[in-house]
Symmetry: C2
Subunit: 326 residues, 2 copies
């Protein structure tokens, strides 16, 4: 009887431990990838089963695009680029095809990428002709002496480096979007990806169309290294989504990294403090995904939902939308 | 004899302490302001006495513009704005009048400002017609829902809020610059200011013309909240100058603030670690000025010079240029 009680209490302890460590895998997977497709007021009651299915399928496509690279021993940089590419090409998300319009009825897109192994980073802001802004951000990182290019200069740079240029009409497909618009009055859908590769290197990337009806020239947190995107092998890789201005004032992506490095707290504690306490107290809606070098990862948001998914070499994988999915 | 030795050793200790605490005043002044006019390869042997005098006079003008406000009980936000305005209006510095040219022969200026009492911030990037970019940054903070506006959108916003718009020819005055050009082959001169006011509030501001011959659309660290500028009453106010790309990748201004808050080190230790160790190891040239709520301040740079000056209510004031001035 005592033995049974002992076994039972051990089982209960294990259960409690696994609940507390939700979203944190501690067996050092060889690789891991986490993606998001935006956080906001995303409620199951407002979502049609068709829309939910479409979002989950596209998140799965993006996740697999990244996983295939990581499984083959590719870099985290290539994995996040591939995952973002898939989401940029889908009209479901507010990035690339499907980006929202400015108050002037134009698309102005932002993107950034960072390599945690050497702190190299690239970003574009306000681009309007390059098909995949994340490829332009990566070209800035790899083929220019700069970190950030904006506006015409960024579009011209992308073109001069052979990236695919499209007519601005490409970014919006009325027919494909109409069916989802009724279900989602507000268009969320900044997309992001963070990854750890087999070499132990971290990378992060983010791409967005910005805020609906934003002022001409407005730059949000997505292309800002430190606010919307950060990757540092000594800490973690982070991609953010939400009300950009709050993420900029609080330097959210870097703040989580700094808390880990300077306070010695875990990734989960750092993310919880920044998103659920600091930002929430200020009224800053949104969330982040992040992964550290041990493969611990978080998907932390203070809204009712965040399109999100993860997969790692330990065999764990989930595709989630609502807060209640946690 | 023993008594004399004791007194002597006490005196030596005090001397050592005061040397170690160079640039740090610990008697909690009511207000303090620190300004910079750029860091770089600034050597006395290459500087004419006339140029040196001109720089010192203009730094003094900028310092006094800020001091007058702080002495009268004005805000740190008004003080840093006033100091930056004076330097933007001078062709000596690479900000406003006197801004450098892009590879296309155009002026594209960046500026940012932050209020440490509430983390509100404003920035403009790539403006080319507003006479004082720092006023445009402040208008973004106070009169828009956004933190950052770039390009035409930013210029149009500044105009719509009644800021002075000038022809692009205003920013370069050949005649006034020519006499200094010979002495300074490379044009440094991003300008910045940080201040503590009598209410205990911190503010920071930075303004620049960017890098000489920079690519069209290049955005550096100056308009990036967290990289070139940050202010937080809980930590410090920072303005940076140097090779912007390194400052962006390392989120320098926020990093100093984060180190103070999360590691509990002093402002001086945080600034030394970031500028003299992290940046130096990476080859990132430049420096920062910073002040905390106790009135401690630093002017830390890893180059041969930084135009810099400080003044506080305790009566301390200096105007310095070279490293050897320390």
């Amino acid at each position: 009887m005592t033995k049974i009680l002992k076994l039972l209490s051990l089982f209960l302890l294990a259960l409690i431990f696994s609940c507390c460590e939700n979203n944190i895998i501690n067996d050092n997977p060889k690789w891991a990838i986490v993606i998001h497709g935006g956080a906001g007021t995303i409620l199951k009651k407002n979502m049609s089963p068709e829309a939910e299915k479409a979002y989950k399928e596209k998140l799965s496509d993006a996740l697999n695009a990244g996983c295939n690279i990581l499984e083959d021993g590719g870099t985290s940089l290539d994995a996040v680029t591939a995952a973002i590419n898939v989401m940029e090409d889908s009209p479901l998300f507010n990035a690339g095809k499907g980006a929202v319009f400015t108050a002037e009825g134009k698309n102005e897109m932002d993107a950034s990428i960072m390599d945690g192994s050497n702190l190299m980073a690239g970003a574009v802001a306000g681009v309007s002709t390059v098909k995949n802004p994340i490829l332009a951000a990566r070209a800035v990182m790899e083929k220019s002496p700069h970190v950030m290019l904006a506006g015409e200069g960024a579009d011209e740079f992308a073109k001069s480096h052979g990236l695919e240029i499209v007519d601005s009409s490409y970014f919006f497909t009325q027919r494909r979007w109409e069916s989802y618009k009724r279900a989602n009055k507000n268009k969320y859908g900044t997309v992001g990806a963070v990854a750890l590769d087999k070499d132990g290197n971290l990378a992060a990337a983010t791409s967005t169309g910005g805020m609906t009806n934003k002022m001409k020239g407005r730059i949000g947190d997505s292309p800002i290294i430190g606010a919307g995107t950060y990757a540092d092998n000594k800490g973690c890789a982070v991609s953010a989504t939400g009300h950009g201005e709050y993420f900029m004032r609080n330097v959210v992506a870097y703040d989580i990294n700094a808390l880990m490095k300077y306070s010695g707290v875990s990734l989960k504690e750092a993310a919880n403090y920044v998103i659920m306490k600091k930002l929430k107290d200020q009224g800053g809606d949104g969330g982040i995904i992040a992964v550290d070098r041990a493969g611990n990862f978080v998907m932390t948001f203070n809204t009712t939902g965040m399109y999100r998914a993860y997969k790692n070499s330990a065999g764990f994988s989930e595709i989630l939308i609502y807060k209640s999915d946690n």
